[in-house]
Every structure is written in C-alpha cells, then in structure tokens.
C-alpha cells in the first residue's frame, strides 16, 4: 500500500464520515468568514479611494442612528456564528462517545515513540494497522510528559496524559496509509514521534495480524526503539557525537581498552547497553553513553537487540525497515 500523499495537496484525505462532516463544517465556516471580511476589505479600499483628502465627495452625515448599526453588526455575525457553535458541538459530542462495540486498541505514548497494542495482543511501535468499517477506540495514556495522538485523516486528536486515560474513536471507511503524529510538544524528538496509520480491509487486517503483525513488524519495532531511546542520535553515521556505528556489529570482534578482544554477541550487547562503563573500547574514545539499566524494560531490550542482530549497515537497515519513524516519503 502506498501512502496516499506523495506531493502537495490542497485538501487532506478524509477517511471517515466524521472527517467528511468536519470538512463540510470548515468549508461552510469559510464561506461565512468571507461574507464577514470581504465587505470590510472592499469598503476600506473603496473609501480610501473615494474619500481621499481633496476629493469631491459627499461628506454629509448619513443620518443612520449609530446605536442601531452597532447592535446589528454585533448581533448578526454573533447569531450566524452560533449556528457553527451548535454544529461543531454536536459533531464533537458525537466524536467523544464511542459506541460500546468499538474495538479497543491500547496506545501508550513515551518520549519519543508510540506503542500500540491490538486486542489480540500484537504490538506495534509508531505505526498502526487498523480495519475499516468498524468503530475503533484508542485508549491512550502517557508514561512521561503530555503527548497528543493526532490522526489528520480522521480529523481527530487527543492528549495522552500521564495520569489518566483519554479516548479517541472513529470509524474509517477508506483504505490507505496516512500520517500519525504527536501534536503536543514533548521535547527533543517531538517531530519524529509518529509514523503511519494504515487502514485495511478487515480480511487484510486479519491476515496482517497473523503474519506481518507478529513477525516482520518486529524489526521495525526494534528500529523504532533504536531511535526512540536515542541510540540513533549518537550511533548513526554523521551524528555530532561520533559514537561507533552499530551496523554489522553483531557477531564481529571488538577490541577492548585492556587488550582483550570479545565477540559482540547477544549477551555482550545487553551488558554494554545496561552498563556502558564496563568493557571500555580500544581507541581512546571518551565513554559518555549513559546507562540504560532501569530505563528500558526487558521485553523492549530484547526487541532492540533483535534489531541490532539484523542491522547490517545503515543503508540496509533503512531499506529492510518498512516504515521508519520520522523518515520522509
């Protein structure tokens, strides 16, 4: 499935009935805005030309009582806009009350990644695969600061709070791949905290759950962790810190400062992540990496190391990964 947005569009894709109605609301509101502003622009321009100093123009008082004008031009726009208040409120209330039969997907936000868990147990990092034609309720919480989950394709967002759950529900009716963002500023990598949401036919979704969701998604999940925990910020080529590249590291010999040479196997990688001050590397580089002991849960550490095992070179790492977080398409 190709992303539905290759180049500039002047109208974003809408994949749910609510999204379409929101678009209609905004279009109608724009018409009203034009109705209220264009006369001002025209009038200013016209008056500026007609009543220039020295021009021959009628400047006698118009004789209209100003109180009447004042009240009417305050009340009429206000009453007109109230239509939009009611319309917007109705749509909002609708989008706040999920139907009871909605499929619940757990979403956890954390600096700087999203973790989604399907009702059947499969988990994804930063990307989300969902079926169409069925109400979906995202049950959202944050593990640290305030984030917000934003899905422009359904015209909805809601904050991920650290102390209580929030909900977001929608029913998509078009397949396709769309952006998924964090929209509440959350620190350094706020702009790469996101990925894509893919809406699929229910059959394809079941297929995905049994195959891709469990298997191929794992490397992508590992890569997302590699970026979310900041490993990439230092270990990728071209970073300011110039930490050693991890591509192809797995299984290769590593020279240590005390003269030994070890093989970078799974256990050594694990130990080095949790305790970077041990086993100093040869070459005299300064050890500045922080310890991740207590900061990374055991299952995520395993996923991360699985990714490192499959990571042969930076280019291959990107190519092998279906949907890298924050990469541009």
């Amino acid at each position: 499935m190709t992303p539905s947005h290759e180049s500039l569009q002047l109208w974003p894709a809408a994949v749910s009935a609510t999204a379409t109605e929101t678009d209609l609301l905004i279009l109608a509101f724009t018409v009203l805005t034009l109705l209220l502003t264009v006369p001002v622009f025209v009038a200013i321009t016209y008056f500026a030309l007609r009543y220039r100093e020295g021009s021959e123009a009628d400047r006698s008082p118009s004789g209209i009582r100003s109180n009447l004008i004042e009240i009417s031009w305050m009340l009429i726009p206000f009453l007109l806009t109230l239509i939009f208040f009611v319309w917007g409120a109705r749509l909002y209330i609708h989008s706040r009350n999920a139907p009871p039969d909605a499929m619940v997907v757990e979403a956890i936000g954390r600096q700087w990644m999203w973790k989604f868990q399907h009702p059947t147990g499969q988990a994804e990092i930063n990307n989300l695969h969902l079926p169409i034609g069925q109400p979906i309720r995202l049950h959202i919480i944050s593990q640290d600061v305030i984030h917000a989950l934003y899905l422009p394709a359904v015209r909805l967002q809601v904050a991920a709070l650290p102390d209580r759950y929030t909900d977001l529900w929608f029913k998509a009716d078009k397949t396709g791949t769309y952006h998924l963002y964090c929209s509440e500023y959350c620190g350094t990598d706020h702009s790469v905290m996101g990925g894509e949401v893919t809406f699929m036919n229910p059959g394809d979704y079941q297929e995905w759950l049994t195959h891709a969701g469990a298997q191929q998604g794992k490397v992508a999940a590992g890569r997302a962790l590699y970026e979310a925990y900041g490993c990439a910020g230092c270990h990728e080529p071209g970073s300011a810190v110039k930490a050693p590249s991890l591509a192809g590291l797995y299984g290769s010999p590593v020279k240590l400062a005390d003269g030994r040479t070890v093989t970078a196997d799974e256990g050594w990688l694990r130990e080095k992540i949790l305790n970077p001050n041990g086993d100093r590397l040869a070459g005299g580089g300064k050890q500045i990496m922080p310890s991740f002991a207590g900061r990374i849960p055991a299952d995520e550490l395993t996923t991360l190391i699985d990714f490192l095992k499959s990571y042969s070179s930076p280019a291959a790492g990107k190519a092998a990964d279906a949907t890298p977080a924050g990469s541009t398409r």
Binding site: H5, L8, P12, T22, L25, I26, F29, T33, L36, V40, A43, A48, Y51, R52, E53, E56, A57, R59, S60, P61, I64, S66, N67, I69, E70, P77, F78, L82, F84, F85, W87, G88, A89, R90, L91, Y92, S95, D144, V145, I146, A148, Y150, P152, R155, L156, Q157, L161, P162, D163, T166, H179, Y181, E184, Y185, C186, T188, D189, H190, S191, T328
Partner: protein, 558 residues
C-alpha cells in the same frame, strides 16, 4: 459641521502651544543630558523611551530566533540544525516575543508616554514606582535572556508541566524565575495606570471625554492587576516543583499536570487582550486623525474594551479542548469564546465606518492602521474556527493555530505598534521621519507578513503539527514560501529602524501637531516640556472633536 471638498488640509484651529521647542532647555529630551538623568529619571516620558529602547532590543533578538526557525524549516528533514537547536530557537522566539516584547510593547512605551498627556496630568501617579518597574522588567528579562540564549531552554514559551518540571534538562529554572520577576513589573505598571486614570485626570476630563487609547489601557491595566498574580502563583509552583520536587503538577505523586495548564491559561488568555486592547486603542486614535472624522460609536468602543477585558477571564478552557477536559466544560468554554471573539472582531466595522465619508490622508500611520484592520479581522475570525469544538479537534496544535495567533499578534499588535510609533514619533522626538520610506516599509511588512503566515493556515489544515523540527516532504513547498515571506518581513522591519534613527538627527523639525489631530497630547509642544504642559490644557467639549462629525454625536454627547 459638514462639507464637501477639502477639509483638514488646512488646520481648523491652530494649536495653542509654540511650534517647536527643540534645543530649548524646556523640553524633556534636552532638560538634562547626563546618563544619570536618564537612568534615574522619574519622568514618564523618559521612562517610556527607556522601555522603547529595551523592547526594541528584545524584538530584534526574538526576530533573529524566528529567522532561525524559518531557516530550519526550509528543508523537511532537519538537515540544517539538530532538533534540540530548533526547539531552543522556537523557545527563544516565543519567550522573548511574548513576555518581553508583546506584553510590555504598547502599554509600557506609548501608554507610559501618552496617558498623562492625554488626561492632562503632569506625570503618572507614582513616578518612582514607574522607574522601579522598568528596573524590575530589565532584571527579569535579562535573567531569562541569559538562560534562554546562552544556556538554552527547550520547553516552548508555555512551560507545560511535567516536561518543564521533571523531563527537560535545560536551563528552565532561571528562565522561569526571570519570567516571574517580569510579572511584577507588569503588575506595577498596571497599578500605576489604574490609579493615574482614576485620580490624575485634569479638571473637566470626565470618563467619557477620555480617548479610546486611555480606555483601552484602563482595561489592559485591570487585566494586568487581576490575571498576572495567578501566573505568578503558577510559576512559583512550577519553580518549587522543579527545584524542590514539590509535585503539585507531577503525576508521580498524584499531582495533576493539566492543572498547570488551567492556571497558565487563566492568565495567558487574558494576556492576549493585554496585547490586543492597547493596539485597538492606537488604531482608534490613528483612524479618526487621518480621516479627520469623529470615531464611529465612541461609547460602544469604550464599553467594549471593558467588556472584552471582563469576558476574557472566562474563556481560558478553549486551550484545552483536547486535553482531557470534561465535555461540559468544553461546551461552556466554546460558547463563551464565541461570545468574546465576535464582538472583538467586529470592532473593525467601527474603524471602517469611521473612514466612511471622511477626508482621508494615507500617510504611514494610516497605512499601518488599514493593514491592521484587514489582518485583525482575519485573525479574529480564524479564532472562531479554533473555538468550534469539532474543528478544534483537527487543527488544535497545528500550523493553523500558529497562523491564527500571528495574525492577531503581528497583524494586530505589531502593526498597531509600528503605526503608533510613526504617529507619535514627532511627539516623542520632535522630528519628522521620512514619509516615502515609511510608506514603502509599511507595504513591505504587509506583503511579507501575508506571504509568511497565510500559507500556514493551509499547512495547518493539511495537518502539519506545530513545533516540528522535521516534517513530511509534501509540506515543503508551503514552508519554503513561508520562509521566503519572512525575508520580506525582515526587510520591512529593518527599514524603520534605520530611517527612524536617522530622523533623530537629520529629520525635519516637527510642529506641535503635524497631523491636525485632536487630543490633549497634541496641545503641547513636540517634544513636550518636562511637566507636559506649560499652561493647564483646555479640555475639549467632546472627545475626537474633528471637523467631520457624524450625526450620532448628537445622540451620544448631548
């Protein structure tokens, strides 16, 4: 009085004051010239110029930071600078522009200079307090400036907990302390204005003879007094939490991070009107002067200033529609936001009606005023999009919001500031600026502003979140357009700095009333003497006593 043909080109009545006092010991600029006489002055006019110099400096810093932000966004992948650098740059831009430029801009400079002149007083009620608040402002501002520029802070100007309290490892603490200190300066300025307007009016200067500029500053000062203490409390709690882990907002102890947002916006939404109302005051002076016509609906505009300042205290929740606020609260806040936004946006109709059947001169201040009217109405009405609950769920925290508040803050406050600066420049300095350069700059700023910010409405609707150091490639075209507009805008800002400074030495000497404007500030010399008036000013029969009076004046000022 009505007529066809030329009015205003020839002054209806000559000002009482002498033509010019430059070079004479009498005027406030030349009364004393030592550094000490400036830094220890209690003359409200000199303090206003101290503020003018300092906020211009802060504006330059904030504008450079904005330039860095726009530069970073020329490419989508963040190749120009790291995410951290970008985040620090937009934090500098927000903190400096909001706290140290926009909030003090018009009140502390024009308000300080003009309120005593407009009400016919010798000074503000508390001149020493006035000087103190400048020092407090500078102390807090420099403190924060050092921490955001040299140290770097990456929380954004809103300092949301718990990012600011527990997670950011940048120089948040000194920045917070500085902003808290600056709040006291705002309170003292507001207090001084309220007391001055209540007690220092010249005999005969009743409330409904006050210019709208004074009404707007009265309303602004009430907000300074009633809202600033709450942000001080919020910041004190934030400081205590960051420094001593007090945990009021920290969920780890059962604290509520959204509570900070409530306290923050309880101040910061009214603060929008701290920035907007003085601008409305400036425009309400410029438009009648250049139309030579009485302001349309004087009483309505005066009451609206106070009304807006009151209602604005009850709409803060519209910043939190998607932040887990209860649906009922969101409905109420949405409705109240409509109630406040519509009347403030339709104020532009009053200015438009003032131009109708006037005798118009399109000098620089008027060009800025007309630009203001156009941009402010767009900014105000796009605010209604955001107040509409269902639309807010889509465009909250996107570039639509960025575009909206820049239309209000730049299109509104900054244009009003520049318009007012040109309007009263002869009064401040006793010199005329270069009119052709002024017009060119005003047009450049209007053009540059729209090219910069209009594309951001579209970006927002397409779903580009704000505060993004990197973004999907399909948004690049609009972002490049926006950055290109920013360069035009920058040029528009640089010209006035050059020709205004040039005019200080080489400008034509200004007469007491170069625009044939009404208002007591034009009854005294340019620049005014140290105690403002050599002879007590004569208060006119009605405010805005211009040659062209609409029929309504009889209804409202019998």
């Amino acid at each position: 009085m009505s007529a066809s043909g030329s009015i205003g080109g020839t002054a209806r009545r000559e000002p009482h004051a002498p033509e010019s006092t430059i070079g004479r010991k009498a005027d406030y600029l030349h009364a004393e010239s030592t550094l000490r006489s400036w830094f220890l002055t209690t003359d409200h006019k000199r303090i206003a110029l101290l503020y003018l110099a300092s906020i211009t400096g802060f504006f330059v810093i904030g504008a450079v930071a904005a330039g860095v932000v726009r530069l970073a966004l020329v490419v989508p992948n963040g190749a120009i600078m790291t995410n951290d650098t970008y985040n620090k740059a937009f934090t500098i831009h927000g903190v400096v522009m909001v706290w140290f430029f926009l909030i003090p801009s018009i009140p502390a400079t024009f308000g300080n200079f003009l309120i005593p002149l407009m009400i016919g007083a010798k000074d503000l009620a508390f001149p020493k307090l006035n000087l103190t608040s400048w020092y407090v402002f500078m102390a807090g501002a420099l403190f924060t400036l050092v921490s955001v520029v040299l140290g770097g802070v990456d929380t954004g100007w809103t300092f949301y907990a718990p990012l600011s309290t527990a997670f950011s490892n940048t120089w948040v603490l000194p920045a917070l302390i500085g902003v808290t200190i600056v709040g006291f300066s705002s309170i003292l300025t507001g207090l001084n204005f309220v007391v001055t307007i209540h007690t220092m009016r010249a005999p005969g200067m009743t409330w409904f003879k006050l210019p709208i500029f004074v009404w707007a500053h009265y309303a602004t000062s009430l907000i300074f007094l009633l809202a600033t203490p709450v942000i001080t409390t919020a910041l004190i709690l934030l400081i205590a939490e960051r420094a001593f882990h007090v945990g009021v907002f920290d969920p780890a102890y059962g604290g509520d991070p959204v509570l900070f947002q409530h306290l923050f916006w309880f101040y910061s939404h009214p603060a929008v009107y701290i920035m907007v109302l003085p601008g409305m005051g400036v425009i309400s002076e410029i438009v009648p002067a250049f139309a030579q016509k009485k302001l349309f609906g004087y009483r309505f505009v005066a009451y609206a200033s106070i009304g807006l300042a009151s209602v604005t205290f009850f709409v803060w929740g519209h910043h939190m529609f998607v932040n887990g606020q209860s649906d009922l609260a969101s409905l109420v806040f949405s409705a109240l936001s409509f109630a406040v936004a519509v009347p403030s946006a339709v104020k532009v109709y009053n200015w438009t009606a003032t131009i109708h059947k006037g005798s118009l001169r399109l000098d620089t201040p008027m060009l800025y005023a007309m630009g203001y009217i156009g941009l402010f109405v767009l900014g105000g009405l796009t605010g209604l999009y955001l107040a509409t609950l269902a639309i807010n769920q889509h465009i909250h925290a996107t570039y639509f919001v960025v575009a909206h508040f820049h239309y209000i803050m730049v299109g509104g406050t900054v244009l009003a500031f520049l318009g007012g600066l040109h309007f009263w420049w002869p009064k401040f300095t006793g010199r005329m600026y270069s009119e052709p350069w002024g017009r060119v700059s005003a047009l450049l700023i209007f053009l540059g502003f729209n090219v910069t910010f209009f594309p951001q409405f579209i970006l927002g609707y397409l779903g580009m979140p704000r505060r993004y150091a990197t973004y999907p490639a399909e948004f690049q075209l609009l972002n490049v357009l926006s950055s290109a507009g920013a360069t035009i805008l920058a040029a528009g800002y640089i010209f006035p700095m050059l020709y205004l400074v040039y005019s200080l030495w080489f400008g034509r000497k200004a007469p007491a009333n170069p625009w044939n404007a009404k208002g007591l500030e034009w009854e005294t010399a340019s620049p005014p003497p140290t105690h403002n008036f050599l002879t007590p000013p004569e208060v006119p029969r009605i405010p805005y006593d211009y040659p062209i009076q609409a029929k309504e004046s009889r209804d409202q000022h019998g």
